[in-house]
């Protein structure tokens, strides 16, 4: 590898921040609002160093009033700015859901496209560090069920940057859900996967384009976020058992890249959907249904691996029980054979 001036390995948080900084330099209309985003730099390093470069006016600490500031982002976006608002943990959505759901997501449609809402809502998601029922959810299904939001979930630094550039430049509201465990925060060690080479330059990754992170022949594992890495690990184990797993990283939930999934299942005949969200009425159901609609004949077996419809418990053995682990994925994939 040469040319270190144009590529470097970044953590996911550095990649995310570099895209935000780039867009803020290019466009005065971009600003960031959130709790503890200024001096603290974001509880999960989502804004680290930005206040130093852009000041308090553009990296705004705001009151603990999610309804007020997310709604203010909607208003500022409709007035032509390009705000980014951060929900510190996605689990807090319930105090601000009306603004997200009934304004951010619907105003474009309700206005017949005469109004646009070019904002990004960022939110930290996920568990694995025992933060219990009110701080560990992903809620992928809850948000993906809402028409009117584009929803992205990066799994590596490369995706984190490209998806953020696209999100900020997009004229529609985008929900950008970043998994805490992938960010590369000092106090929450990340797995190896998310730290990747990242081009210095700006580049955009389109929404609705899943990424085949590993090719395989026997079973298709569809997942996103943290579980991309667990699925890849599982695929290693499966390979040593003679099972060849294809791993698909959805990267965006809305739009959902049904085509890539269906193509893969047509090849492998088996589908394992892995999700860190609750099992019922969510991502695993939707992915399964799309395959059942479009490739029922090819489909030999389906397995869903997700949180078993209980809140995330606190104690380590309990949390480990409910959040899908590598072994759970291996077992599910093995059952399909």
């Amino acid at each position: 590898m040469s040319g270190a001036e144009s590529t470097r390995e970044l953590t996911m948080s550095r990649a995310m921040v570099s895209a935000i900084a780039h867009e803020m330099r290019e466009n005065d209309d971009v600003f960031y609002m959130g709790e503890d985003v200024a001096d603290y730099g974001g509880i999960f390093d989502s804004t680290q160093g930005l206040r130093e470069e852009f000041g308090y006016d553009r990296i705004m600490d705001v009151p603990i009033s999610e309804t007020a500031y997310i709604g203010a982002a909607v208003g500022a976006a409709q007035a032509g700015m390009r705000p980014i608002a951060e929900l510190m943990f996605v689990d807090f959505f319930g105090v601000a859901m009306d603004q997200i759901y009934n304004q951010m997501a619907k105003n474009t449609y309700m206005s017949g496209g005469n109004v646009s809402v070019p904002m990004v809502l960022t939110a930290a998601v996920g568990g694995t560090y025992n933060d219990a029922a009110q701080h560990s959810q992903t809620l992928y299904g809850t948000f993906a069920h809402i028409p009117g939001l584009k929803i992205v979930v990066p799994s590596t630094a490369y995706e984190a940057k490209g998806l953020m550039h696209n999100a900020i430049r997009d004229d529609d509201p985008v929900l950008y859900m970043f998994h805490k465990r992938l960010m590369g925060i000092g106090w929450m060690p990340a797995p190896d996967g998310p730290k990747t080479p990242v081009p210095e330059t700006d580049y955009t990754i389109p929404f609705g384009r899943a990424d085949v992170k590993r090719d395989g022949e026997d079973v298709t594992i569809v997942t996103l976020g943290l579980h991309v890495h667990r699925a890849l690990e599982a695929a290693e184990t499966l390979a040593s058992d003679g099972i060849s797993a294809e791993v698909i990283d959805l990267r965006s939930l809305v739009p959902l890249d049904t085509e890539t999934i269906v193509e893969s299942v047509e090849k492998t005949g088996n589908l394992v959907v892995v999700d860190e969200d609750y099992r019922s009425y969510g991502v695993t159901g939707e992915v399964t249904a799309r395959v059942a609609e479009e490739a029922l004949d090819a489909l030999e077996r389906v397995e869903r691996v997700a949180v078993p419809d209980v809140p995330i418990p606190y104690s380590r053995p309990l949390e480990k029980e409910v959040i899908p682990g590598t072994e759970d994925i291996v077992n599910a994939a093995t059952r399909t054979q």
Binding site: A79, M110, P199
Partner: protein, 348 residues
Amino acid sequence: MPHASENTLTRLYENMVTARYYEERLQEEYLEGKQPAFDISAGPIPGELHLAAGHEAAGAGVCDHLRDDDIVTATHRPHHIAIAKGVDLKRMTAEIFGRETGLGKGKGGHMHLFDPDVNFACSGIIAEGCPPAVGGALAAQKRNTDSVAVSYLGEGAIDQGAFLESLNFASVFDLPVVFVIEDNDWAISMPKERVTDVENGAKRADGFEMPGVRVDSDDVLDVYDAAGEAIGRARDRNGPTVIEVQVHRRMGHFMGDPETYRPEADQEAAAERDSIVRLESDLREAGVEDDRIDEIRDDAHSRVDEAIEWAKDQPLPEPGAAHEDLFVSPASGVTDSEPDFEAVGGEE
């Protein structure tokens, strides 16, 4: 404090009679399709309809101070405010009739009117417009313009988190926004005193370090003065204000509301305290001739009739249009293809 000139008086009057007649005509149209039995899904106007007869002073008296670049968010009872803000009457009416040429191509309806040309929006959830108005004010502050934002809400909405959080947000950042509470004494069937601790809604401001002013009558000139001061403060970067205006609900909460909960005396009182009649006598006092008053009113009525006739002539949307306008950009965002990693400087 600027007192209304004769020009202003006639402008306010024109505005208010337009709004009043508009509601009366919509009521007719709406009910026409629902005789003899009221069926909400029959007739030429779809859905619920919340009319604002009796609220006109709060629309006209405030919005007369506003420019097109100022932002207004209104409530589920929005027509008088929309008219006062200068929303396109024909396209608004077409929207209310669910027509293709409506402001939202028939997708939004009467509670969801968006006219970006004059920065008007409204919505159907209580106090929901407060945070976006605050955001509009924030944008003005960041862009260093002297635009302001006005957020309307009902007296029933002053107990809702979205309003209360907005007060602090506006206050702590000194934003150019004015909150206008239209106090019509009722939140559907609930009288104010049953559900709200304060008699004067503007008192909410006391806990948030901002001025709160109550205009105790729907005399549009008093509203005009109070709003002029508050909007002036906002434009001069002196921060937000809460204004409560006493208005009256001359009709039911929505069309079809039996109002069985409402004492007759209250209905009669609302009918008597008519801000338009009062303004007519102010006009006469200011020397405006009866002929001129009649002319203004007749013109307003003609414009309304014309808008309604126009709207009713407009085509309904094609069913397939329901699948459009979810996004303004392609679903993939600004880009449809992922760049070559190496081409953008990557080297894997």
